[in-house]
């Protein structure tokens, strides 16, 4: 027993070193897998406080750019107003309803919220955006995030009471299903960690005739993003010699170096769809139920 104590006293520094290393590595590896870490919610509140202070200063310098984007977005929305159109047939009235359910059976699938970007980087291989909305404001994991001019930004991965962290498209683990607007072929959008100005899109067949500047939009099968929203435009087309697919370099629609205001979109049917998917998987994959 005495020897054990002597041993501990002699190697106390090494033991503390190893324990701290183990704790740090444990944090790191559990976090990478699940995007959750112990105490990160509390820390998120603290970093959020600092970031919001910083953001008040940053806002001042980026206001002009942000105004231009907002004006552009407003302009495109103004063009959608019903008063712009003359109805040929007055017996048909089209009404859009904003409450979740109406008697005609229309219901709302996606709800949008605005949020402000508190902190954002583009230099790392794993970039996150912190926004000033959290679980108190109804933000949940896996909600989609779009920039103020409508380009896809990313997906919420971690939520604290008043702030949340968004995994940006500029994250090497990021994979999003997207469509080429012109040909409707779907592919996988990812980032290679090299240049924050460009994303890469794979799995678009060479039979598609594409040109530079073609629009890429969000796909139909995502639970997080509404379909048909801008993701980016084709910047370069590289034919992959060994396969039958293109490798496309995509210029993102959102300006990641200059994010100020974003919109968070909630899929109101998320839980329903997610439950259905899981139950289907369970039902089909369950080996015990082979007597179908």
């Amino acid at each position: 027993m005495r020897n054990i104590f002597l041993f501990i006293r002699r190697f106390f520094t090494v033991i503390v070193f190893l324990v701290l290393q183990a704790v740090a590595l444990w944090f790191l590896f559990t976090y990478n897998k699940f995007h959750k870490a112990k105490g990160l919610g509390v820390a998120n509140e603290a970093t959020g406080w600092f970031n919001s202070r910083y953001n008040t200063v940053e806002d001042f310098f980026k206001m002009k750019e942000e105004n231009r984007r907002l004006l552009k977005m407003n302009d495109s929305l103004m063009n959608l107003l019903p008063s712009n159109f003359i109805k040929a047939d007055t017996s048909v009235l089209i009404k859009k309803d904003t409450i979740p359910f109406d008697t005609l059976g229309n219901f709302r699938h996606y709800a949008w919220r605005e949020a402000q970007v508190m902190y954002n980087t583009v230099n790392a291989e794993k970039n996150y955006v912190q926004i000033n909305r959290g679980s108190n404001q109804g933000i949940k994991d896996n909600m989609g995030v779009f920039s103020s001019d409508g380009g896809l930004v990313g997906q919420v991965v971690n939520v604290s009471p008043n702030f949340s962290q968004v995994m940006s498209l500029l994250h090497v683990q990021n994979k999003v299903n997207v469509l080429v607007k012109k040909t409707n072929s779907s592919g996988t959008l990812s980032w290679d960690g090299i240049d924050p100005g460009f994303l890469s899109l794979s799995n678009i067949p060479k039979s598609d005739s594409l040109v530079k500047g073609d629009t890429i939009i969000t796909g139909n099968y995502s639970l997080s993003f509404p379909p048909g929203h801008l993701v980016g435009t084709v910047a370069e087309i590289i034919p992959d010699i060994s396969t039958n697919f293109y490798v496309l370099r995509i210029k993102p629609g959102a300006d990641f170096e200059n994010l100020q205001q974003v919109m968070v979109v909630e899929n109101l049917q998320y839980e329903d769809q997610d439950k259905l998917l899981k139950e289907t998987k369970k039902k089909i994959d369950d080996p015990k139920k082979s007597n179908r």
Binding site: F12, T13, V16, F17, L20, Q21, V23, A24, L25, W26, F27, L28, F29, Y31, N32, A37, L40, A43, N44, A46, T47, F50, N51, Y54, Y119, T121, V122, N123, A124, E125, K126, Y128, N158, Q165, V172, G193, I194, D195, P196, G197, E257
Partner: protein, 177 residues
């Protein structure tokens, strides 16, 4: 200002500069991430205990990690740096304690060459381990090597600049204190 208070102010300044200046500058190159926050650990007094150094290292790393959403990454590298620091100091400082009466490592206390060797070895240790941990989840081996060299070079540049721009007024260690 007491040593304790001064180091707390330094800690806050280094973390804030790292988070809001160096992490926010426009993208330079994929291999270059400017780091300078660990200079805080290099500037801690000689007299600090090894256990204390380890714990301070862990806290400094975690503080940065919570901003960059990489819990444990910088903490692990800082703990390694804090563990290695006393060994490097032992090699580089004179053995005779009467010759040596400064409180904390600085170019003036150690001389430029030993100080730069001290900073270089620990920077390399920090970046090597940090990049290794990042490389485990992403990247190729060649990229790993280039990145270690490039980030170390940039950090050394930043450290030398910082030393020249902010020469610390060195207090001698006296019996009265």
């Amino acid at each position: 200002m007491s040593d304790f208070l001064r180091n707390i102010v330094r800690f806050l300044l280094f973390i804030l500069v790292q988070v809001y200046v160096l992490n926010k500058i426009p993208h330079l190159h994929r291999f270059i991430t400017p780091y300078v926050y660990f200079l805080f650990l290099l500037w801690l007094p000689f007299s600090i205990s090894r256990i204390g150094l380890l714990i301070i290292g862990f806290m400094a790393g975690m503080a940065l990690d919570f901003f960059t959403m990489t819990p444990g990454l910088h903490a692990a590298a800082c703990v390694l740096l804090a563990y290695g620091r006393p060994f490097v100091i032992n090699i580089l400082t004179p053995k005779d304690p009467t010759e040596f009466n400064y409180r904390e490592p600085s170019p003036k206390a150690m001389g430029w060459t030993p100080y730069l060797v001290y900073a270089f070895v620990l920077t390399l240790l920090h970046h090597g381990y940090l990049t290794l941990l990042q490389w485990l989840s992403f990247g190729t081996f060649l990229e790993f090597l280039i990145k270690v060299v490039a980030t170390t070079a940039i950090s050394m540049l930043l450290i030398i600049t910082t030393e020249l721009l902010f020469p610390r007024r060195m207090k001698f260690r006296t019996n009265t204190a």
